[in-house]
Each structure stands twice: as C-alpha cells, then as structure tokens.
Point group: C2
Chain length 422, copies 2
C-alpha cells in the first residue's frame, strides 16, 4: 500500500523543524515582551464576512480556504489575524483598558501557488498597539521588529524596513489629480509594480483609468525620496524611531503602499538585501477597522511576519541557529530483561532530583544505545552492566570527553551534579 | 452595525485566557522534557482518507470538519494527531532512529454538541513512544501523565488513571463466546456504557447481536477487578508503573476500552474524582497504525489530553494558577507632548540594559497612567514631570509599597537594579 500523502502546501514538523519554529516563537515572545506586549490569540475559524469588509478581494476571493459549516454559514480558515483582533476589541468595548499592546504567533492559511518562501499553511507573528493614533505608536512597532532582527543577528545591511504613509501618498496623488475612486485603484497599482514588467505595468495603469499625464506624475511621485520631509507626521515618526534606537534599519520608500484595504496611515515592509528583496514583514496603521466590524472608532497600528521567508533569510545570511532537539541530560541504558526495573528506578530517582532523563527501553547491544545517545546529543550515559549489577555499582560515561568512570550507585547523584555543572 | 459574531464553538483568547493556555503548554513541555520527549507537530489539514482507515466512524463521519479543496480531494481539519504521526513515521521510514519519543501541543477540531467542557476548536497534548512494544513503554506514558498531574498539584485523590488491556479483554470475551465480528462491536458497546442508562445499554447490546448469556457474561467481565492478575503483560506493566513512581494514580478498570479503532493493547483514561468522572486524557497502544497508513510494522503507544476539561478540573479543585499577564517590569510615564522623546529615550536605555519596559504613549493625567500600571501589575513606574525635567531628575515609584523617590537621571539604572533584585 502506498503511504497516504500530506495535503499540498502543508508542512510536517519533525523535531528538527519544530525546534526552529519553537526558537522563532521564543525570539518573538522575547522581543514583544521587551516592549510590554501581552500574548493573545483569535480563533482559527472565522465567518467569511469578517474578511469581506476590508481585507481586499485578492485575499478573500482568491486566497482564502472557505467552506460551509453545518448551519450553512460560510467559514474561513483565517488568512490573517487583524480582523479577528478588531472583532475581539469591538466585542469587549469599554471593558478593555486602553492602550492595548497585544502579540500572537500561530497558524494561517492562504491558497497560493506553491513556490519557494510560500506555504499554504504557515505561521505568523502579529503585533499591534491599539487605542493610540500618534506617530510614536507606529514608530514603536518598527522598533519591536528591529529588536527581533538585532536579537537574531539580522543586521541593518542584511535587512531594510521601507516606510511610507498613505495620508502623504494620498496628498501627493491628489496634487496630480488622482482622487475619489481612482485612489484605491492607484494604491493597488503601486502595490503590484514590483510583480510586473515596466511595460505591462504602464498598460495596467492606463487600463485602470489613469491618464497619460497622471501616469507620468505617478512615476515622479514614486521616485521622490524627499517627500516625507513635507509631512509633519513623518517627521515626528522618524524622530521617535531615532529615540527608539531603530533608525539604522529604516528607509523612506514611496513605492511601499501594501495590499490590504484597511490601512489608513503609516505603511511599511521589511525586505532582505541579499535575496530578491522579498517581503519579510508588513504592516501599518488601520484606524477604521474596529468600527468597520461593529465596534467604536478605535485607532490601531501593527504588523505581521511569516515564518517561511524569515527562515530562508536567516539561512541565506548564514545566521540560522544551531539547535539541540533532544531535551534529555542523561540516558539510562538497559542491559537485560531482568535489569529493566533497576534502570527504570535509577531514571525515576534522577528525575525526582530535577534532571531530564531518558531510558533506553530495550536490552539491545550497548554500542547501539551509546550511538542513540550520541545522535541525540545526550551528554551523559549511565551504564548498569553485569559487573555493576553484582557489586551495586554504576558507570557514568561522558559523551563529550568519552571518559567513563565506575563507582558506587549511592554516589551517582553527586557525580552527575559535578559533571553537569562543570 | 452589529458586531460580527465569532464562529460557534470557537474561543477568543484574550491575554488572561492566553496566559492559561501558555502556562499549560509550558507545564506539558516540562513534563515531556523530564522524560526526554522531543516536540514535533503535524499539519492542521490532512486528507480525509488518513482518518478513514482507523479512527472510527463517529470521529470521521460525525465529528470531522471536512471540505473539498480546489483540486476536489476531501480535506479534514485534523480531529486528532495520531494518524498524522503514523503518516510522518511511515514517510521517513528507515531514516528515523528508533525509539522515537515525541510530543506536541496544538489545535484540533471536532463538530460536537456545545456543552460544558467541550469546544469545537480545542487544544490537545499528544505524546507517543514509537518503536517499542513492551509493557514498560506503556507504563512510561502514564508516568509522564502522573508527572504533569503532580507538577500542577493534581493529587491522586483528585484524579485517577483507569487502565485496561484490549488483549486481555479480547481473551476474556472469547471465553464467553464473543469473537470475530462481534469483538469490535462489543468494544464499542463497552465504550458507550457510561453514556447510556442500564436498560438502554442492555437493549443496545442485544440489538448489536449479543445473546442473553453472552450479555450476562459481559457484565461479569466488566465487574471482575482481579482479571489483570492473570495477564503477564499487565503484571509487568504494573511493576514498571511502580518503578516509575506513578502507581498511586493507577487503577485497573475492565470497563475502560476507548472509542478509537486502532488500539491493540493497553488502553487508559484519566478521570477526575470530584466532577462527573469526566475523561481528562485517554490513550493506549496502537501497533498497526503506521503500517495501515502505508509504512512498516512499527509498534507505538501514546495518549492525548485536551485543554478544556483539564482547565475545568483545575478550577474545581481550587488549584488553577494565578498568572500575571503583562510582561513589563517598568512603565515609563509621559508628561506632555514635548517630553515624549525623553520618555522614549529612557525606555530605550532601560531595554538595552535588559529590562522589559512599557511606555505610556499619551500625556494623559498621571493618575490614569499609574492606574494603568496598577491594573497591569507593573511593579515600577518612572515619572518625568516638569520638576524632574528642569533639574534632569527622575522619580521612581514602587507600585507595591507606594514609595516614590526622586534622584538624578544618571542614577536610574542602578536604582532600578536595586529595586527589582530586592
């Protein structure tokens, strides 16, 4: 019989894969905690209408996994967290003490073409500051991102955070006659520029309703690297970014606009320098979303970062962590059927003393048991062979030095204490 | 506009809920690590056929969330982990060094009637020992469970682990003429006994094909608390449980059989004493499953424990943990617009010194900022008011004692060091 295959676009997390996911989760927890953020989570299933409001057609119609539940309502596997967050804030309303600083790390699903750096089932860090509509709040978020980057060894020459502001962009576009319905269309156009050839992009712009001179004006807007200096909001933002010690990672970039419909102010993306300038994280301000899902008008800002591209970027920069997978400090070997109980009792005693102890569950050749310890990088092995049994002794083998010593069983705990603290 | 509602049977994890989920995850991680188990995870989506093989009709046909993907294959939101684990072991085959000790904690979905202790989207601990077919392996698993119980304060008078063995049960049933096709039917019958009245259960037994004398024999089998003494396997199992220090939690119980079709040997359930003897965890030996999904014949044993009932049992026994939600050590207050930068800089300096620092992002009344610190149990507050600004000083308020001291800004770090270590 052939082995039943996994679902395309999902991943199996064998212990070595899981060690990376857990390491990333811990790094995210630490960076978030350094700024006082509290962990939360939404459900993994939500009604489709929650996303229909503001997430944009691409995400809702093309990328979401959707199915009817037994009552007939359309359910989506969450493709992103922000709408759930907005719903949760709307639901508690005045029961929450603002500001809220919340973060989360969990699974999301998007139906995407299979390619490097994409997985249909992926993990994402979400972090948001809710209830504050100042440039400093936006600045704090990128400072949290910069803290994570620094903590894992991603320096400012490996990764750049590209920032823009939709209010500034709106003003610039209005000056060249782009407004009303043409505005969201032009935002979408800007967002897709790097996925198209210049000719195709121009054709798409004209088809979308831009006039030739508006298109020329748009090209100029996207090339103007000084425009932020005319925005008091962005001046205040960059000042706060400096005070937060995150300035070295940031660039103003008028071509960044982000694809989601709900952004209202600051928008940004982190991209790697070495690779194809892939987007590592993205976020921005979304002051309307809580009210759109039925709550009060509560301002908010935040970002999301996926696990897959982040892992690739660490690899390509040679800074992926070297992780131990097996948690055991000590392996207790088994010599023969009749000695199983003694081995198990020793393991139990050592666990009660606070050690992490694995027991080899079969009396196979000692060589194989030692090889098992070696492969799992277990530093100490306790051996109770026939000689040891007879004289109530045990042997302790240090797997790093290879040194092996035999002594009275009653000395085992103090010997282990010496070895593992040494 | 009304607030968009969550999906029935899902849960929102506000920070205080998430703190419990994370605490439970850490307790599970610690108990698993004490025995050398490595963390892994399967995908959240699997092909329906993976469960069709051996999970039993109730789980597959009545409880699974199933939908067709865009290629037309039937996909299930995982209702349990064991089949994914078997598939992963089958897939790697000889590339894995046996024995494997693996654990996981993650989300699962089952379409169940909404009731206390049930959630359609829930979290589950799974832990398995793969590649060993001895009673000691089965015993180790319940010792891990007992370790978790002990670590969280669930004593042996609050919780009992009820154990049986399907091979022993099979032998007992054969002695009263129940065999062949009647065997799995009788196992299902035993599994449902506690969900039916005695009369209804007898009627169900006779309808299922049991003769009157077989039914009488079955009742006797289910009342015989000494039968385990005739099973060398169970004798060896209970001996190992004692050596593992877990004996105080265990009872032999011939009425425990478990609902899943894939169990082949030891089966068990932990139940709480105070409540309705609800099932807290359940597991057993499943030696065929890896081969059923297409791999080699590899023996395995393990259990699963859900988060919802476990939380209720802790509550009802008065041992639910008291958890702090906000990670910040220090809150930096903000006096006025023009002092924001100074506040942010102080926060940045303290973070660089290793502290977890939250910044109050708006110059509202100091009272409100202090109330925020109090609600979030942040132990220290730094105040930079007009007096402090003028003289380059800061004030530090201890939120526990209420004491407040003013000193030179350059002394802040050493003062905080004293306060937080003291």
């Amino acid at each position: 019989m052939p082995i039943i295959q996994p679902v395309r676009g999902t991943r199996d997390f064998y212990p070595e894969d899981m060690a990376f996911r857990q390491w990333l989760n811990n790094q995210i927890r630490e960076a978030s905690a350094q700024f006082g953020y509290q962990e939360f989570d939404g459900p993994f299933l939500e009604r489709l209408e929650l996303y229909a409001a503001k997430s944009g057609d691409e995400l809702v119609k093309e990328q979401s996994y959707v199915f009817p539940d037994r009552s007939g309502s359309m359910i989506a596997l969450r493709p992103e967290l922000t709408p759930s967050l907005a719903r949760m804030v709307a639901q508690r309303g005045k029961g929450l003490t603002l500001p809220l600083r919340w973060w989360s790390f969990g699974p999301f699903w998007r139906y995407e073409r299979k390619q490097k750096g994409r997985s249909r089932e992926f993990f994402q860090w979400n972090i948001d500051l809710i209830g504050v509509d100042t440039p400093e709040a936006d600045a704090e978020l990128v400072a949290v991102a910069a803290t994570l980057f620094r903590n894992v060894g991603l320096t400012a020459d490996m990764i750049r955070i590209k920032v823009n502001n939709r209010r500034l962009a709106e003003k610039q576009l209005q000056e060249i006659g782009i407004q009303g319905e043409l505005l969201p269309i032009t935002f979408r156009l800007i967002d897709r520029q790097d996925r198209m050839t210049p000719d195709a992009w121009k054709a798409y712009a004209l088809e979308s309703g831009l006039k030739e001179d508006q298109f020329k004006g748009l090209v100029k807007v996207l090339e103007d690297l000084e425009a932020w200096k005319s925005s008091p909001e962005m001046l205040q933002y960059f000042k706060a970014v400096e005070a937060l010690g995150a300035g070295e990672y940031l660039d103003y970039d008028p071509t960044v606009i982000r694809g989601l419909d709900y952004y209202t102010g600051t928008v940004y993306e982190a991209r790697d320098v070495k690779g194809n300038h892939r987007s590592i994280l993205g976020g921005g301000r979304y002051d309307d979303l809580v009210s759109v899902v039925g709550g009060d008008l509560i301002p908010a800002t935040g970002f999301a970062m996926g696990d897959v591209v982040f892992g690739l970027v660490l690899d390509e920069n040679g800074i992926a962590p070297d992780l131990r997978v097996c948690p055991a400090d000590i392996l207790i070997t088994t010599f023969e059927e009749s000695s199983k109980s003694i081995s198990i009792q020793i393991a139990t005693e050592l666990r009660e003393a606070g050690y992490r102890v694995e027991w080899y569950p079969e009396p196979v050749r000692l060589q194989r048991q030692l090889k098992y310890a070696d492969r799992n990088e277990i530093p100490l092995v306790v051996i109770i062979g026939p000689d040891e049994m007879e004289s109530d002794k045990v042997s302790l083998k240090d797997m790093v030095s290879g040194e092996q010593k035999t002594f009275s069983r009653s000395d085992l705990l103090s010997r282990i204490k010496n070895q593992l603290s040494g």
